[in-house]
């Protein structure tokens, strides 16, 4: 295990915070999308065929 006192600890903490922020944002986006999809009627139209 390397020495964590020389800035490495901070590097880990900052990385964890950034990744946690990204995850929380994506979770929020997922929830918002789900609500919007429900409002729009459960994926209707997503499989519409492209006319040839």
């Amino acid at each position: 295990m390397p020495e964590l006192s020389d800035g490495l600890g901070w590097l880990i903490v900052v990385n964890l915070l950034l990744w946690t922020g990204l995850f929380l944002y994506m979770l929020r986006l997922q929830r918002t999308l789900r609500a919007a999809e429900r409002a729009a009627g459960e994926n209707q139209g997503s499989h519409q065929e492209v006319s040839r």
């Binding site: 390397p2 919007a36 139209g45 492209v50």
Partner: protein, 239 residues
């Protein structure tokens, strides 16, 4: 799309919310493990100008790997589009994969350049691997240009699917063949003619875990971005 000829079957039911949440938090834990592993568990690499700088490898290689997975995903969706269905979902799924692939490509290039400056003395060295990733970026940026240049929805979907299908040959060549044809400045344990990753076991564990976590993250991002595009497309139709 213009004049959809028929309504297709309803979309497959998504995973229950609790499962989605569970998977998301599992991925969060996984990535946290990778971060701690990369900085505190894996030993510094030997034979480097700055051994500590080698830790960027645990994020740089997974980012490059995911860009390849994304371009492959685009090719597979395009193949599905051309061979069966021709649905808006397939077309947009391919386009979304290319967009995300380019984002990860840029991340891989930036992290690589930072490391290159530390180890090789310059941000850019025209190393075969650096050159090949630039070619990949140009190839897939052209895909997006092509999409934006064609106004007709059907023609755009068909043309871009054919182009992305070509990428199924181009991407493996640029990622795995071209960098190995000539001498590379990249570390031999990672880029070698044998195509094997030869490194200390803890480093290898963190690297593979990082690649797995990044891949899962890509598919989650792809799912969210695709659903957003589908909703936007439907809103445009309704408007």
């Amino acid at each position: 799309m213009n004049g959809p000829s028929a309504a297709a079957p309803p979309s497959p039911a998504g995973l229950p919310t609790a499962v989605r949440l569970g998977l998301a938090w599992l991925l969060w834990l996984w990535i946290c493990g990778v971060i701690v592993g990369a900085f505190a568990w894996a030993p510094p690499a030997s034979g480097f100008m700055n051994a500590f700088s080698s830790r960027i490898l645990f994020f740089h290689v997974p980012a490059a790997w995911v860009s390849f997975v994304a371009f492959l995903t685009a090719g597979v969706w395009s193949l599905l589009f051309l061979s069966r269905g021709r649905t808006r979902r397939q077309d947009l799924a391919a386009a979304t994969a290319v967009e995300l692939g380019l984002v990860f490509c840029v991340l891989a290039t930036l992290t690589g350049s930072v490391w290159s400056r530390i180890e090789w003395g310059a941000f850019w060295n025209w190393d075969p691997r650096q050159t090949s990733i630039v070619l990949a970026m140009i190839f897939y940026a052209a895909y997006l240009v092509l999409r934006s240049a064609v106004e007709d929805d059907q023609a755009r979907a068909r043309l871009s699917a054919s182009y992305a299908l070509l990428g199924l040959v181009v991407a493996p060549f640029l990622y795995f063949v071209l960098p190995r044809i000539t001498f590379s400045l990249h570390p031999e344990p990672v880029v070698n003619t044998g195509g094997a990753v030869e490194m200390e076991s803890r480093m290898l564990w963190v690297l593979l875990s990082g690649a797995t976590g990044f891949t899962a993250l890509f598919f989650w991002m792809h799912n969210l971005a695709l659903r957003t595009k589908l909703l936007a497309a439907r809103n445009d139709e309704d408007a």
